[in-house]
Amino acid sequence: MPSSDHVDPRRVVGVEAEIVTNVTSTDFPGHWPNEDHSWGIDKFKNTFRVEFHRNTPLFAEFDLIHMDASIANTFRRILLAEVPSLAIETVYVQTNTSIIQDEVLSHRLGLIPLVGDKKALINMQWFMKPASGDPPQDPTDDNTIVLHLSAACERIPGVSRSETDPHKLYTNASVYARDIVFDPAGKQVTTFANNPVRAANPNILIAKLRPGQEIDVTMHCVKGIGQDHAKFSPVATASYRLLPLIKILKPIRGKAAERFAACFPRGVVAFEADEETGEKRAVVGNARNDTVSREVLRHEEFKGCVELGRVRDHFIFQIESTGQFDADELFLSAVSVLKAKCTVLKRETHRMLKKQALDARSGSGNAGPKKGDRGWAAE
């Protein structure tokens, strides 16, 4: 854990009462005279660190240290929008006599996070929705998972008349996500044998029924990405914050130290005995726990005593998974998505360069870049 005294001031984002300073990084070539800030893979390998703090299936918190904000943000964006996951896409309503209308019921079903055999899910193909006018494409066991939900509400005979609890009076008074059943097709019988597709949380309420009402629907789940619809996003949220820094400039002792500590969440400020007076003296404890409430800057008495900041290239990354994949796996998928994108970019760039070179050689003016439009490949 870097103590505030050791952090290079160039890496610090200043947290002042009404403004945040130095938000942009400056470690790029040409900014500082006579300093080399060119990026190199070896340099990155040597400095970059990942530290895990918590890792549970649904939640992971880890630090990415010495990384540019653009890269960390890319991972966040990919996690939200581009890591694929499985969700209900089409609902075929055989019967729905509940008070929840078909569209609303479908919408509710779509948002239910699903879990199932991870390997089988990863191996699933994309289901390409045919463009309007094209013949419908048949779903296969490669790209579609079929779920069923059927529940009918009836009065339970023999319940006392004074009973008011609908769950004791009727069957299926409430329909929950646990009532959804998986209907494996073809090879899905084996691939999902141990871990069938089901709702991540069995207790999600889907609808309430009363006697005579019935829901009978078939659902087709496909793989999709969060960019298309939020239901395909594999994370509840993924975000990061910068590591807070607290720098005590002047010693704060005694009662003032306690008041000082009260300005921060518990554990952020620790006490130690002052060498000179023997009083309690406030020192920075675990700055990581600080929520940057800037409360201390409100108090006149601590003016000039403390400087707040955040480390610009120290990202405390938090991923909350919806359950389909483990939070740490999701991060790795995000990395591989980025990798795949880079590969595509690289390939396309090469192709473009090659084409340009060819055009230049053939000497025909019309195929080359237009006048005034200097392609970046020329540089």
């Binding site: 929008a81 729905n96 509940s98 569209e103 309430k208 939020a230």
Partner: protein, 1136 residues
Amino acid sequence: MPPPTRKTPSVGASVSASATRSNPPVKFRSARPKVDEAKDEEPKKPQSDAFDDLLQTYYKGKHLTDSINTAEDKWTLLPAFLKVKGLVKQHIDSFNFFVDVELKQIVKANERVVSDVDPQFFLRYTDIRVGTPERLDIESNAEITPNECRLRDLTYAAPIFVDVEYSRGKQIIRKRGMNIGRLPIMLRSSKCVLSNKNEWEMAKLNECPLDPGGYFVVNGTERVILVQEQLSKNRIIVENDPKKGIVQASVTSSTHERKSKTYVITKKGCIYLRHNSIMEDMPIVLVLKAMGIQSDHEILLLVAGTDMVYQDTFSVNFEECAKLKIFTQQQALDYLGARAKKARMPMNAVNRRPPALEALETLANIVLAHVPVENLNFRPKALYLAFMTRRVLMCMTNSGLVDDRDYVGNKRLELAGQLLSLLFEDLFKKLNNDMKMNIDKILKKPSRTEEFDASTLLATGANLITQGMNRAISTGNWSVKRFKMERAGVTHVLSRLSYISALGMMTRISSQFEKTRKVSGPRALQPSQFGLLCPSDTPEGEACGLVKNLALMTHITTDDEEEPIRKLVFALGAEDATLVSGYELYAPGAYIIFINGTSLATGRMNFEDFLKRGLVEYIDCNEENDAHIAIYEYEIGESTTHLEIEPFTMLGAVAGLIPYPHHNQSPRNTYQCAMGKQAIGAIAYNQFLRIDTLLYLMVYPQQPMVKTRTIELIQYDKLPAGQSAIVAVMSYSGYDIEDALVLNRASLDRGFGRCQVFRKYATALRKYQNGTVDRIGDIKRELSRDPENPDELVPIRKHAALEPDGLAAVGEKISMGEVYINKQVPTNTSNAPTLLNDGPPLDEYKDAPMAYKLADHAYIDKILISTAESEQTLIKVLTRQTRRPELGDKFSSRHGQKGVCGIIARQEDMPFNDIGIIPDIIMNPHGFPSRMTVGKMIELLAGKAGVMCGKLQYGTAFGGSKVDDMAKILVENGFSYSGKDFVTSGITGESLQAYIFFGPIYYQKLKHMVQDKMHSRSRGPRAVLTRQPTEGRSRDGGLRLGEMERDCLIAYGASQLLLERLMLSSDVHEIDLCEACGLMGYSNWCTTCQSSKGVVKMKIPYAAKLLVQELLSMNVLARIKLEDVFPYGEGDVKEA
């Protein structure tokens, strides 16, 4: 793939009432000192009633009569008040009063019907009652419910019964329970089936327990009789016009028979009486003399008292009278009678009365009609007139002693009951009149086979009252013949846009003032309306200040009997004013008491004698002037007489939704009052059982994080209209200028702002005179285009949604052009005899399908097949659209801050704070400085604090959660006290340089949605007459290039563009014009000249051609002369 099957038609089940509380309310039979006696709980209890709490002897641990010490306790009086009174109680009270009391009074006043022909004959009404709502058809014996009336387009009405006695020949016959018509019943009134029903019973009747009632269901539509504001009747108003030097006291007298206005007015320093029934202004002394006060001394005393100044000012008037040589009552009456307008006598009036009698008649019955003259005892009326004169005198000496017309105390509110009683009395009189005429007609006949029975006539007249009532309520046209009253727009369709709009309508007051007049007085906020009328809730624009709303705790009283009050006043030591002289009348410490503006009495007593020491008291606007009311406890001093229950009750129900309204600029609260009524939300618990023409519902409404006491009292939290959105106040993307909002796409994916639109399409299957009936046809089929089974017959595309019964299937998607009711009408509906056999056969039908016309598809939600009152089959189809917010949809917070969606941003592009929250809405901070809606900022702060500590916060007016407390909660939870968060950009990944104000604000989705408004056209329909493009979106009309646009093009000189826009693209028409005569011909032939020589073709707008021809039809001949544009140029330019 399983094909989507059809849903079976269903009427949704009852909405489950989620009103069960964690602590079931305990019912007590008697008042007991402690609350913890669970033994008394009744063993079997129906479903918990939302109001049960309030019905308890103890509410929140307090007895109703316990002393109330602190401000926190005080507000608990309010729910108790609202339970007893309710927001629409004034309507219901008034209707109940009408049904129980006024109806009987009206019948009593008009109880006898006699015949001019047979003096022996009489018919007397002995009693009148209103029954319970009844069905007219005999489909079942069950009581009719309001919801059945709504669905089946019936009128929710109850029969009116009378008991009569009448003579038949020589015997007197008594009959009980004769039906004389049907009276529409106000919902939740004492005659309504919903009265005194608990939540569970209401659910059984398919009715919402939160619905306020107070409206009528006439022909299936819900109609409200708005409260009408009027200048007080029988009240003296003194006005002063310093420019013209006129002082006048006027009073509008109103009795059951007539309405008239009497003025006492100054003219050149003298005082006159002015009245419509007297042709010229009468000197006041003369009138008083005519009323029997002959001594000048007595007149002086009655008018001026002992005050020397008044005496001096008044003495001129004696001179005026003396000049006319009038000294006695007889002289005065003669003079007056000569100038009185004669009452319209029957034509055969031979016995013309002498002028003196005429004058006596006028003075007794027409002038100041509300002061009764019994046995020609003019004393009370003379005293009243003298008092009016005195008020004029007082104003002449001190111009400040005038009355304010706009003062709320000088206003009276007319409610449904009073209006209905006016109408009923008129109809009842007409019924009796018609009956009398009929009786006369029958009795005139010399010989009858049987004895005449009057009761048969009564039954035939029943339709008059039924239809008269129905028509008045369903059109809103109130015409009362005897007052010559002709009022339009008295009733309105109850707005069911949201719960709050319905509620807001029930508290609305409309003023009688003309909207077009540009006077500020009646529109201005009156200090006297404090606590009675809401200062914020008024529309903008022409009706501003004229349409008002009641405050939360306003109570409107019904008429009371005068006699007990008179007795009480006399018992308290008042003296009869007719017995005292002017000396005592105006002596210091003597006060004159008016009861409903009539009887005069004087007494010597102070305020305390009148003030009964109750704990809670209603204070009338006039009493407010004599009370010293403290708003807070600490303001109580020596002279304080009252303490306000809660200051927030000065606002109405709609303004009560605004959190922290006392921090907002006041117009913002007014704007919110208008917008709160347009917010989409839940409407009622029975919203899925209704079939309205247009119904907007929100899919996931939420109750606000920052509530107010009013929200709880009117139970807006149970039927909310809005959602709590996480708002970041920052600028983003440039698509947020001019109040536009940035919405988060993932939030929309998850259901934010999602709403449903239900539309009703109805048709009736008509029966025709010749016995033919409309019918529903079969599905048309064609060969399938599917190559796999080409022989299969499938429904044609238009009929894709139909089921075998010819109606669209419930749950089916329906797009433009598709048929949902495959109606067919007979081709021959004429009533002509079929012998001639010229028409088509009776069994031939042609298609008249109902097809879906909107561009956006919908789903069939419900189909209702029933019969209306006319025995015709009624088919109603309800369609449903579920809409996700899109670009251009309108949203608003509760602070008059509306905005449209400017861009829907991707979740990953949006900024996020330290704990990873991404806002639902980004709002531009420029919305704040000029609008000064500080309340919105505090709402955010309180909402954020509430989220962090898991409690709902309060933003009640003049109270609510304190900003300091909220800041403290925020700091304790690791946020900045200011509500501003450290936010990272979602695009660059870098921290933002400013801290962002970030937190939940309650947002309403307003009914204005792009889907209903967007419109464009290239080619399309044209109007038949002018051949110009049609107007308006509903007719697929063109987009108008208006006058101002035209002016621009003219100024710019774009003549070709003008020609193209105004003629070529609009109504270009080619005519054949004869250059010789200048008239139009056709086919290259001029009919006037009988030649084709000189006929040229030219293009003009069809409207111009039409104009020429229309002028021609009115004998105006317009000739068109052509000239060359370039007379010396090349020949071929000529054509242009």
